[in-house]
């Protein structure tokens, strides 16, 4: 089957989805009319409400969701007047890719570039086009590599051979969204039902009865029933069109290679995969290290700091290693993307076009007024809470964040020492050495368990008495562990008992020796993780720091996400 035929089939299938929605809506309206013609009852009013509730997600999914992708990912819009080089580049790339240029360019804080279009009517009618460009991507790619990425994204819309496939792609988006809408509603229902049953169970327990097991099997049943035909159809549709999707990715890769060069395209693919991991690491270990202490790096550095990390000579060596290994493929029948390794292999098999990817300047150079733009992206992307945090220099951030963490981590042990009557709970600056001495004395006297007994405990450990209570203390004692406390869900990393009492020096005196400034080896975020810069073992950054900081995206126009889970 040729590409054109396959795309045609995809359109027919999409129309079937539309038809399914109409049939179901028609059935709902039909039932309602049939009831009303028999006379007005309270029951018929009730039924109308129920039917309307059931029909609403379909209407939303089919008719309005097709226009989705409006204000999806928060980003900083840049004007042609403000960034003429960037716009010129994008326009040029659009022309070479054979499609129209985007109407808007937005800078985001993600390692991603995407083109989204507010297409209407299941994607059959084109709409306003937006290009989302992640600042970290600009920081990590060279100019030709960025060209390749943008050309790939635009290529999805422009390749005349696969024009029909472009419709497929929008259709896949719409189908995915409709099913999502059903799932969202269903989860809301299940959540409500669960909390209701939990209350009932607690009541039963108070009355001394055996509580019923909580089951949400029947919750959201109406929506599930309603969603079932769509889910089945969507699964069928996504499976049937995934070959078109994959083929189209490869076609877009070819366009990118044609526009930006073979080597730049291959290296951009490798590089993006690595950048994803590096950005995660950077946000976890550096950008958000001070959040719990109420601190952020200087304006522009939250996303711009990645530059320093990438520029560090020792980091560069690590990164070079990462480049050679590509992430393993996630094999799902719905993923529209072929595995990255496969794409790279195909691109590298193209004939050499003589263009080299080396020696080009970083893509960030495309931006005018880089520092100001980086700062503005933060204002557009970060949550109001994050924006309200205090901004300090990198040196100060590291020092104060670590100090706050050490303080916080030492607090349970200090309180335990005080509660055991072994030390006076006073200001930390004066008592640390005395407390350490008291702790070591307790260890010598075999009385450490008295301290361990006063460390924070889980409710279960606190309830235990006699031998069981001692068994609960044992892990903390044997590990010589202060921060054990109630073990966190992930099994909290532990630190030696004494380490948490050592104060990291007075705030101003030794700082300059301990902490080098950014740019200097070992001092910037590019530091290799020695000395004071290493992420403190007891530090638990949020699992998704970027999500904790940035405004949550809605329906992100990131087609790398599988449409259907």
């Amino acid at each position: 089957m040729g590409a054109c035929l396959r795309a045609l089939r995809a359109i027919l299938l999409l129309a079937g989805f539309y038809l399914l929605a109409l049939v179901i809506l028609g059935a709902l309206v039909g039932i309602d009319i049939a009831v009303w013609t028999r006379g007005v009852h309270l029951a018929s009013i009730k039924l109308t409400v129920v039917l309307a509730l059931l029909g609403f997600p379909i209407l939303r999914g089919v008719f309005t969701f097709g226009t989705g992708g409006g204000d999806t990912v928060p980003g900083l819009p840049v004007t042609e007047a403000g960034q003429p080089e960037l716009w010129r580049t994008v326009r040029g790339l659009a022309e070479q890719s054979g499609t129209r240029a985007p109407d808007e360019i937005l800078l985001t804080g993600e390692v991603n570039a995407a083109v989204a279009e507010d297409a209407r009517l299941l994607g059959l009618v084109p709409g306003r086009r937006r290009l989302f460009l992640g600042v970290p991507l600009l920081a990590g790619l060279t100019e030709p590599q960025l060209h390749s990425v943008i050309a790939h994204e635009l290529g999805h819309y422009g390749n005349s051979d696969t024009r029909l496939a472009g419709i497929t792609r929008r259709g896949r988006d719409c189908v995915g969204r409709t099913v999502e809408a059903f799932k969202e509603r269903e989860e809301q229902r299940i959540g409500k039902e669960r909390s209701r049953q939990e209350q009932a169970a607690a009541k039963a327990l108070r009355k001394g009865r055996r509580p019923r097991r909580i089951s949400t099997k029947n919750a959201g049943l109406g929506y599930r029933l309603m969603a079932r035909p769509f889910q089945v159809y969507a699964r069928f549709y996504l499976r049937a069109t995934s070959s078109v999707g994959r083929q189209q990715e490869l076609a877009a890769d070819l366009i990118a290679a044609k526009v930006a060069g073979r080597d730049a395209t291959a290296s951009a693919l490798r590089r993006t995969a690595v950048l994803d991991a590096v950005q995660d690491f950077y946000l976890n270990s550096y950008a958000t290290m001070g959040v719990s202490a109420g601190l952020l790096p200087p304006r522009g550095e939250v996303f711009g700091g990645l530059r320093h990390l990438l520029a560090d000579p020792r980091r560069r060596m690590n990164l070079a290693e990462l480049h050679t290994t590509l992430p393993p493929a996630e094999a799902t029948p719905y993923d529209s993307h072929p595995p990255v390794a496969e794409r790279v292999r195909l691109i590298e098999a193209l004939p050499d076009d003589g263009r080299t990817a080396d020696g080009a300047r970083p893509a960030l150079a495309l931006l005018r007024d880089t520092e100001r733009v980086l700062a503005e992206v933060e204002s557009a992307v970060l949550t109001p809470e994050a924006l309200a945090l205090e901004r300090v220099t990198w040196q100060e951030l590291v020092h104060r964040a670590m100090y706050a963490q050490a303080q916080e981590a030492a607090q349970p042990l200090r309180s335990a020492l005080a509660a055991a009557g072994m030390a006076v709970d006073t200001a930390p600056a004066d008592s640390a050495p005395a407390e350490l001495a008291a702790l070591l004395d307790a260890a010598d006297a075999g009385q450490l368990w008295l301290v361990a007994d006063r460390l924070p405990k889980s409710p279960e450990a606190a309830r235990a008495t006699g031998r069981a209570a001692r068994e609960f203390l044992r892990p903390a004692l044997e590990a010589g562990d202060a921060a054990a406390g109630p073990a966190g869900p992930g099994g909290a990393p532990r630190r030696p008992l004494a380490a948490v009492l050592v104060r990291p020096g007075p705030p101003d005196a030794a700082r300059e020796q301990r902490l080098a400034g950014p740019g200097r080896p070992g001092g910037s975020p590019g530091g290799s993780g020695t000395g004071g810069h290493r992420r403190h073992p007891g530090h638990h950054p949020p699992a998704h720091p970027s999500r904790a900081l940035t405004r949550p995206p809605r329906n992100r126009p990131d087609h790398r996400r599988p449409l259907y889970p």
């Binding site: 001394g208 009865r209 279960e460 068994e471 869900p489």
Partner: protein, 353 residues
Amino acid sequence: MTAVIPFTILVLMLIFWLRNKRRAARAATLAVRAGADLLPPERQRTDRAFADPSTEAVLTAAAQGDWQPAARALAMAGTDWERRSHLVDALAGQAAKEDSWLRAWQAACPEDPAAAVVHAAAKVSLAWEIRGSARAAGTTREQFAGFHRLLGEARQDFARAQALAPPDDPTPYIAQIPLHKGLGAPHEAMRQLWAEVTARAPYHYAAHRSALQYWCAKWRGSAELAQDFAARAAAVAPPGSLLTMLPIISWFEHNSDAPDKAYGWPEMRTLTETALRDLAAADPGHPGLAEARHLLAYCLTRQGSHAAALEQFRQVDGFVGALPWHYYTDPAKVFCAYRERALRGALIAQHAN
């Protein structure tokens, strides 16, 4: 004329209603009088299934640090394996709370097989105490960590206890069954252990009771495996061994939400009648007898055999630390509620005749 018929019906209904009401009122006063010797919930002991003064004395001495009564009681039990298991269980429970006496015992008699098996069994009790009795979802990581650490230690303790014990003593094997349950031992390992047990004590009630838990769906088996195990044991058991209770326990474990009606089905009636005969034939000093009475009392009440149920209730009143009551948050309250139901039912039946 036509008005007479409905009027008569109405009058008759009123008469029957009044009679029933008077009967109920009389039954209530009778119940109070008949139940005068029964204890209220606050006087029910939740830690024991029956009055056991000799074991009680041994435990009190142990709590005060004296291990010698424990050693003497175990020596006196001799080859009464039911009694020995019962004592080891009780002592292990005590040692799980506080074990200074056990350490003193082991220091005095390092090679004592009885001390060794109590030590090993206590590890398992302690592990369960740390784990708590909630389902896996309600158990924290910390609890599981402690549980598995102690069970790992217990495995070695059992190996030692088995090496020290006389070759015909099943106790260290029986006490190891809960360890298999906790560690999730494969069926093959359980069958090997079971062969060791039955080679030494083929009709041991506590052993069967413990192994049945392993075969239950909530542990390592299924409703079918448990039922199969119970039926086989009950089929070959000599009268008085109490093994006829196993099918009832298995059924109860897998049908906790069964309605009263289900207890009246012929299969269930046969099971309870067989069990009642078995109980009558049992040695009155059998340590498992009380628990059998507790569960039978429950089943008979729900079956509507109130008089028979009441008879069992009277023999164990004052102690509620047994199946099925300890599955409830307030065992004493539930026990008394069922006992009351049996009492009233029995009185109504008596007066109806």
